[in-house]
Symmetry: C2
Subunit: 230 residues, 2 copies
């Protein structure tokens, strides 16, 4: 019988934000895939191994999918990643694929999962805490209450500048484009908070738009609420 | 010294989706607040006690905040809830307030937290898995990949019918208004999935708009992606 591919979210950074299910599945399985060239250098490994030290002695498989805007190149990497995974599944071994945050939220796991499912294998996703929830918790603020909407934008350079009037904005992966983010927020007359590397030793917190630097790291997240809570 | 108010998300239903931090804080503290009239009847208690059986022997405090659209009535209930909490904090006791899903996402904890903070006490939020992540995981589908946006709507009756063209829609708390949801989706030419009581024994799954019944329970969630994954 073929193995199962598990896509497991390890959460946003704090190892204690891993779920019981993530911990159990890592413990119960021998083959662990990590997104990167060297498994032990990945952020996902650093998070998970702090919560589950025995991870160190598992069979760690690197799935290297370098960032590129070339669609053909991307496809090739996804196919290669799926091939590595499928070789283990065919041997009847489960694979636990660790991803940052939640596997349903902008995760590279999705691409591998899609191919592996098409090829007839069984896959299962296990939710993790998304970065925007952890950032709101860090700031002791809600993302939304009552009837408020939440709008999540992963790519600021695509924004036309016409964001909806109402609801909370969550701006992700905007690190290198913070000047653009600040411009959009100022236009909308909104304030915002920004957290870089939330829940890690390198965490930085900004409480107002004007404090936010023009460039920041990849793991930066902006939350802008329509109204400030009184 | 005053105690600390912890707002802890217990996730969407499956006790294994609780975080290590939630489990630790429940274990380490004696006073646990639960949103409802009878603590042991609440969904939050049922989830948390399955993961942390010793919860049964803790001091369980009911915080009753009945649903109402009367703003003054709401305010009164929130003030009463905060008073109960503050009485313990003043005795130097921490309170662990359990909420469904994530405390930053449409949680009643936010209202209590806001008052308690204003009154000068320390509070801390601990993220939980939001229902929309768990629903996506249940369906083995992403909420979003690449540059796709995510739009979360908590109150369908407020929607004008002009949803954005692009991105994923998440429609929450729409159980009693599913006919309206289906109408909006049909207008937009989109298909959708719906899961009721995700991760519990009463779970029901619908794979297409046309399968969705006109009324469903409170814990129903619709996900509509702009494009189907091929």
């Amino acid at each position: 019988m073929n193995g199962i591919l598990y896509g497991i979210g390890v959460g946003p950074g704090d190892p204690e934000l891993m779920t019981l299910k993530a911990v159990r599945l890592i413990r119960e399985n021998r083959v662990i895939a990590l997104p990167g060239k060297k498994p032990k250098d990945t952020v996902a490994y650093q998070i998970a191994s702090a919560a589950v030290p025995e991870l160190e002695h598992k069979q760690l498989i690197p799935i290297h999918m370098p960032m590129t805007h070339d669609k053909e190149e991307q496809k090739k990497h996804h196919r290669e990643g799926a091939d590595i995974v499928e070789a283990y599944l065919q041997q009847g071994k489960n694979i636990v694929f660790l991803t940052l945050g939640d596997p349903a939220v902008y995760s590279t796991f999705t691409y591998i999962q899609r191919i592996v499912e098409k090829d007839g294998f069984q896959t299962q996703s296990v939710s993790g805490i998304p970065s925007f929830c952890a950032t709101a918790a860090r700031m002791n603020m809600p993302l939304a209450i009552g009837n408020e909407q939440i709008h999540i934008y992963p790519a600021v350079h695509n924004l036309s500048g016409t964001l909806p009037d109402s609801g909370t904005y969550v701006l992700m992966k905007a690190g290198s484009k913070m000047d653009r983010v600040k411009e959009i927020l100022r236009k909308s007359g909104r304030d915002a908070v920004m957290v870089e590397n939330c829940g890690t030793g390198k965490e930085k917190v900004y409480f107002h738009v004007d404090e936010i630097p023009n460039t920041a790291g990849y793991y930066s997240l902006v939350i802008s609420r329509e109204t400030r809570l009184k």
